[in-house]
């Protein structure tokens, strides 16, 4: 039984000159209580995928999917209203800018209270107790004080904790965290990630952690999806990806992480891919990584499909079937 199964999810942006695809036929699976990391550069479409699942795309966006199965029900078969209500009861999302994602005109108390009232409710006093509990759960020291405050009076880290508390108030089976730590100080980042992982483990709820920072995912996730230019490039268990990445892009990402301490090799240089992520209206023919790929061959002008590799996961690369990229590297 899967918590989330997404099949062929596409998102496009409507312009005067037609639709511009942003997410291209993305398929993702998450088990119950699983922690999935989604990694990719900014603009790769990973956030759009999350918004599409939550039904939060702006009116200028269009989405299509064969199905989006969330906790046993297919979202694509529901009406807009039903879908919004169902998603809100099963899933919650927190965003990159904690300050901006809380309403500046309402106190923390009223925003939390509203959410609790809408999800389960209870009497006034019960809701207050629940709010205090939730703030305590997310590691806020003086919940009674914070409750009276407004978002602008709190730091970014505190606001993100409040946002998490508010997401938890929905009692979600799936929590999506869209770059939850990008806007925060480095010291706060790991605290927030640890908190998210701890809460997910404690409540047996799924966590989708979206980030551009591979380092954040390595220790905390069960599986990782690598997104490039709107496509899922690789989707496999975390240890598989870390030990033997099959896709050149994943390898490039891993090689660009600085190694500190014992693992640091003196005089070694970080790896960087040439060029930039292509503009969405100027995609290359064939493999989207093609022009930047250090391993590119003649066959890469043909569009690769996402294929299963035994005992590994799924990879979108022609070269992956011949031999793993890592092996090829070792041979040379």
């Amino acid at each position: 039984m899967h918590l989330l199964r997404v099949e062929n999810l596409s998102v496009s942006y409507l312009t005067e000159s037609g639709e511009v695809p942003i997410v291209d036929r993305m398929s993702i699976k998450m088990g119950m209580g699983e922690i999935l990391g989604v990694v990719g550069e900014s603009g790769s479409g990973k956030s759009m995928m999350a918004l599409a699942i939550m039904g939060l795309l702006s009116p200028k966006m269009r989405m299509r999917a064969d199905y989006i199965n969330l906790d046993g029900e297919d979202l694509m078969k529901m009406s807009v209203e039903d879908r919004a209500a169902y998603v809100a009861s099963k899933a919650a999302i927190i965003f990159q800018e904690p300050q901006a994602s809380l309403n500046p005109c309402f106190s923390i108390a009223s925003q939390l209270d509203e959410t609790i009232a809408f999800h389960g409710g209870g009497g006034r006093a019960d809701r207050k107790t629940k709010a205090l509990e939730l703030l305590d759960d997310v590691g806020i020291n003086r919940p009674d004080l914070v409750l009276k405050m407004y978002p602008h009076q709190l730091s970014g880290g505190m606001n993100q904790r409040v946002a998490i508390a508010m997401a938890l108030a929905c009692e979600p089976r799936l929590l999506i965290a869209d770059e939850p730590t990008t806007a925060l100080d480095v010291t706060i980042q790991s605290q927030i990630i640890e908190l998210l992982v701890k809460l997910s483990r404690a409540q047996q709820s799924g966590l989708m952690l979206i980030t551009h920072d591979f380092a954040l995912l390595s220790e905390n996730t069960d599986r990782i999806g690598v997104v490039y230019s709107g496509q899922l490039m690789e989707h496999a268990a975390t240890e598989n990806i870390l030990s033997s990445p099959h896709h050149p892009y994943t390898k490039a990402l891993l090689d660009s992480i600085p190694q500190l301490g014992d693992r640091h090799v003196k005089g070694s240089r970080l790896f960087a891919l040439d060029g930039n992520i292509p503009a969405i209206d100027q995609l290359p023919v064939g493999c989207r990584l093609g022009p930047r790929c250090p391993k590119a061959e003649r066959q890469c002008v043909n569009t690769p499909e996402l294929r299963s590799i035994e005992n590994y996961g799924k990879v979108r690369c022609h070269l992956a079937s011949v031999s793993s990229v890592n092996k090829a590297e070792a041979d040379s």
Binding site: D274, G275, P278, A279, Q282, P284, P291, R292
Partner: protein, 295 residues
């Protein structure tokens, strides 16, 4: 892209001005308003050649309806007013008068306003405070009331009305210039330019001026429409251009009494004011959108 062959599409980044022009040309409504405004300007410019008669000449046929009515006459396209003057000629000359006055007002108000605004932003706190308090006061006074008081003090008539309207328009220019300069001076690239040893003049022409230009241009269109309206309003109240002048507001005020007998003498001058204001406002709106300014 060093290693990849250049067969992928290359993008050309347009200059700021050409991007603005493109944005503006894409906006059909603003573009047609611009054409209309240009036409009104042409009419104003060539008024003596376009108008068939002198605006002050009185004909025998008074209160003649426009030519498309049964009792209208072809030689008076828009009919005549209560004194038998050709309405078309009066409106055409009115366009010349209204636009001339409005341009004059805006030129005075914008140059004084920008000067005071720069002074306020660049000099010490005391001068800044004095200028700002005076501007606050002018802003607190309802514009037409202030104009009326000024006219009452120095006497009714066209030149006095013009000064009154100009004074009323100054504060907006002061505020825009002052705030924009202050905001620009606080930005890091300006600090960087200063550290690079840029002179004050260079700083002003290369960093501050290009950045305040869009808001000033939009403010000029706003002020222009306000000027046309206020001059006409003063004319309507009998405090601006006086009776024989073919000023649009004055014409309306004269024909107010004949609204039931000769409704076209009320409808047509108003229509002229309305379309002028509408086209200015649409162009202003289009410029603001094209230059990507916040509302």
């Amino acid at each position: 892209m060093i290693h990849s062959p250049q067969f992928y599409q290359q993008s050309v980044i347009p200059s700021t001005v050409s991007r603005w022009t493109n944005n503006f040309l894409k906006n059909k409504l603003a573009l047609s308003a611009f054409v209309l405004l240009a036409l009104i300007f042409l009419v104003a410019l060539f008024a003596p050649w376009i108008a068939p008669y002198d605006p002050a000449i009185q004909f025998e046929n008074t209160k003649l309806p426009p030519a498309w009515y049964d009792d209208g006459m072809a030689r008076h396209l828009l009919g005549t007013d209560d004194l038998g003057r050709d309405l078309f000629s009066r409106l055409v000359h009115g366009a010349r008068l209204s636009l001339k006055l409005a341009i004059f007002v805006v030129v005075i108000a914008s140059s004084i306003g920008m000067l005071l605004g720069s002074l306020s932003a660049l000099s010490n706190v005391w001068i800044d405070q004095i200028i700002m308090r005076v501007m606050d006061l002018i802003l607190a006074l309802p514009s037409l009331l202030l104009a009326i008081v000024i006219v009452a003090l120095i006497g009714p008539g066209l030149p006095n009305a013009i000064y009154a309207v100009a004074i009323v328009l100054i504060p907006h220019f002061v505020l825009i210039t002052r705030n924009a300069i202050k905001a620009e001076l606080g930005k890091e690239y300006v600090t960087a330019m200063m550290l690079d040893g840029a002179t004050k003049v260079r700083l002003f022409t290369h960093s501050i001026l290009p950045n305040i230009l869009p808001s000033v241009i939009v403010q000029i269109t706003l002020a222009f429409s306000t000027a046309v309206l206020e001059i006409a309003a003063l004319g309507f109240l009998g405090l601006g251009a006086q009776a024989p002048y073919p000023e649009w507001g004055t014409i309306l005020s004269e024909s107010h009494a004949y609204i039931t007998i000769a409704p076209w003498t009320v409808a047509l001058p108003g229509l002229a004011i309305f379309f002028t204001l509408l086209s200015i406002n649409l162009v202003g709106e289009g410029l603001r959108d094209a230059m990507e300014l916040e509302q």
